[in-house]
Symmetry: C2
Subunit: 191 residues, 2 copies
């Protein structure tokens, strides 16, 4: 039981107390239910792989986005993680392809360019690429990564854009932090 | 005492319980302290007025921003409230003038164009105005107000811009709401 608690508490967002609660819950469930859960966990590792084109998580390779005929192949949106790609997909506004870097540059955590799918991104760029949209997170690591990509891609003379930093929809100027407000002013658009 | 509680609970963010707590607090303070507070409250109304140019709150008319020689008179930033102007001032990035509308259009609350300082804004625009920055809040009322101003100012052929809607600095794509993410994609900037 101690082993189950310590294994579960390694999961993100699950502390020792939550892990204990989960173990007590599992103890009360019928055996077949617990077995189904364990099998589903193993199946994650067995059936899910990374798309060899965009490095999205997928059950088929290449992934559904990369093989879809409805997607516009002239656009590549670069994100840090597969989660970010899902967030953009939920908007239903983007019809291009993606490239999942697998993280962001972070000297503090020892993550350098060779740890990310950067050369794979460069290899994907061609004369058919009309725009590369850098959608890394608007935080320190994401901005550093955007800057690094800019230096690599700029010489190829492919149009590069960065998602807008500004005030979230539905928010208030009064409560915006200064950096965001500065970005919102700098990035103002002509109407 | 009942009157004090009911007067205090009319203030924004102060409910009946907080008002009661305040009254009990005041009861325990020496009389001169309570009198100083009451005088300060009356002084707000007596000494603070609206700038006759930009409608910012001020103790001198015109206000310090409108009379400053360091401000760039070619730019007018339109905000809903004086608070919003203070928020932009805190960034230290904007050197132009302001215009405080005194609110935003809201049919639900019965606030129409005649309740805002819109005609006063139009009267301020001249050949010297190079850009009008619409910095109303990125919510329903603020956007409606921006649209209304656009219709009025567009025919004057003065450059109009809107502060950027997008992801706040330091945030994460994964947790961004869909509208904000859509705006961040639409408003992407060439790098």
């Amino acid at each position: 039981m101690e082993r189950a608690i310590s294994e579960l508490s390694k999961l993100p967002g699950i502390g020792r107390k939550s892990a204990q609660r989960l173990v007590f819950y599992l103890l009360k469930r019928p055996e077949h239910e617990v077995r189904t859960l364990a099998e589903a966990i193993v199946a994650v590792k067995e059936n899910i792989l990374f798309c060899s084109v965009c490095f999205n998580i997928t059950e088929t390779d290449p992934c559904q986005v990369c093989t879809s005929e409805k997607r516009d192949r002239e656009f590549i949106c670069v994100v840090e993680e597969a989660n970010d790609m899902l967030a953009i997909e939920r908007t239903g506004e983007y019809k291009g392809l993606y490239h999942v870097l697998g993280g962001a540059l972070s000297p503090l955590e020892g993550i350098g360019p060779e740890d990310l799918r950067i050369k794979e991104l460069l290899r994907r760029l061609s004369n058919d690429t009309r725009e590369v949209i850098i959608a890394t997170n608007p935080n320190t690591e994401g901005e550093a990564t955007a800057l690094y990509l800019e230096k690599l891609i700029k010489p190829l003379e492919i149009k590069m854009t960065r998602i807008a930093r500004g005030l979230p929809v539905g928010s208030n100027l009064e409560y915006a932090d200064e950096m965001t407000l500065t970005r919102a002013l700098e990035g103002r658009v002509v109407i």
